[in-house]
Each structure stands twice: as C-alpha cells, then as structure tokens.
C-alpha cells in the first residue's frame, strides 16, 4: 500500500495505491490526522481510489474517522475513480449515504472552489 497526501486550498487529496488493511491503516490514519491537525482550514477530503485494489473494515474505519472530523468542520467527503469492486464495499458499508462519488479529482476541486 502506498499513499500520497496533498493539501489544495481547503481540500485534502489522498491518493491510494494497493491494499488498505489492518497493517497499513495505522500509518495512513497517523499521516492524515496529522495533516488535519496542521490545517484547520481543511473542509473537504478527496479519496482517489483508482489504484486501490483492496480495502476492508480496518481501512474503512480510518476513512470514517476522518469523515466525522469533516462533519465537525462542516465539510464533505468525496471518492473519485472508484472501480465497481471498491464501490460495492463502500456501498455496503454505508459510504454512499455520507459521501459523493465523482469521476475525477479536478471535478471535485472545481466544485468546491465554486462553493466558496
């Protein structure tokens, strides 16, 4: 599992590659939490999961935790480039009700810029 995190204005873009499970989740949680703490202006989280090949409840738990933080900031969670398999597990775990699915990071960035 590899991931990169980038702050663009009020948006944190997380790009994930590989498998997010119990082994990698703590590191991902630590890094993403650190950025949330360093950037209180963050309102939006984009999870680019195009290259993510696997996720289970350990990984989903980390994302849910960041969603709760976004809620306290009045923000929003987005998934981009979710393949059908990843989308299915996100649906089953209820993420469709609390997030938006988009085709690209640029699409979301344009949208949230327009929301300013």
């Amino acid at each position: 599992m590899q991931f990169s995190l980038k702050v663009v204005d009020k948006t944190l873009v997380a790009t994930l590659e590989g498998e997010l499970d119990l082994h990698k989740s703590p590191e991902f949680k630590e890094e993403i939490t650190m950025l949330f703490n360093q950037h209180p202006e963050i309102r939006y989280l984009i999870m680019d999961v195009e290259r993510m090949t696997f996720i289970d409840s350990s990984g989903l738990g980390v994302i849910l935790g960041r969603f709760k933080e976004l809620q306290t900031r009045g923000g929003k969670l987005y998934f981009v480039n979710a393949n059908p398999r990843i989308r299915r597990i996100l649906q089953l775990s209820g993420f469709e009700r609390i997030s938006s699915f988009k085709k690209s990071t640029d699409e979301v960035l344009s949208q949230v810029r327009g929301a300013k």
């Binding site: 499970d21 082994h23 989740s25 696997f54």
Partner: protein, 144 residues
C-alpha cells in the same frame, strides 16, 4: 472421483499476515471456478476474520492463528481459529456497527463475512479462543 482438496496453515498474529492469509486463501480458492468478484469477496471475508483474531483475540499481542480451507466439489469451507481471549457476547459482536474499539473499526467485520460468504458460524470460549467457519458455494457461470 470427487474433486476435493485442503490446506492448513499456521501463522503469527502479526498485522502483516492479514494480507498473507487472504492472498494464500485466494490462491487456494482459485482452484474452483469463481468470478473475480467472488474471489475478492472471499479475500474480504478472510481479511476480516484474521483481523478480528489479531485485534480482538490477541489484542495485537503474539499468538497463533490457524487457517484451514478445503473444498469438496463446488463448496469451499474456510476456518480461521485463534487461541486468544474469546468473545463474551457473539450476538453483540455480530451486530452491524458494533465494535469493542469503535474509534478504529467500523464494526463491519461480521457483516462483511455474512454478506460475502453463504454461511458463517462462530464458536468462541472465553480465554480459550474463537473459531470462525465460513462456506461458499460456486455459482454456475454463464456459458459453463
């Protein structure tokens, strides 16, 4: 002759071995005629059961996890067993959204196991361990 096979693997309750377990099991399971989605379903179910053993059974401490898998004709049976602290209330543990560590987990482990496998049976004894047995039947593929 009946088409059957089995494997037994023991490994340490190390978080690194969650990926090992699901990958090894997927390789074994692929001897049957699953779709790619079904193989992914089986990987999720195994990942959840092994993660439960590592986190809840052994509370991230050292321990042994036993994985057994077999198939006979078109039915795959998988069991994952730990010798850790056991589950106090199995019915509560199976509830969607319940987690004894709610900050870290979604409480979806058993939900995923039930969703992705045909049958899930949990046996547990306090301070002796937990055994999760799951099975799944190959569905007839189109054109086969």
């Amino acid at each position: 002759m009946t088409d059957k096979n089995w494997v037994k693997i023991e490994f340490a309750s190390d978080t690194k071995n969650v990926a090992f377990a699901r990958t090894a099991l997927a390789l074994f399971a692929s001897q049957l005629d699953w779709t790619l989605d079904e193989i992914e379903d089986i990987k999720v179910a195994v990942s959840e059961a092994v993660s439960n053993s590592v986190i809840h059974g052994y509370e991230l401490q050292e321990g042994v996890i036993k994985l057994e898998a077999s198939y006979e004709e078109d039915i795959l049976t998988i069991s994952i067993e730990d010798f850790g602290k056991g589950i106090t209330d199995i019915a509560q543990a199976k509830e969607t959204g319940y987690s004894s560590i709610p900050e870290e987990r979604m409480g979806l482990g058993f939900t995923f196991m039930h969703e992705y496998m045909d049958e899930v049976v949990v046996l547990s004894e306090i301070q002796k361990g937990t055994k999760v047995t799951m099975n799944k039947k190959v569905q007839a593929q189109e054109g086969s």
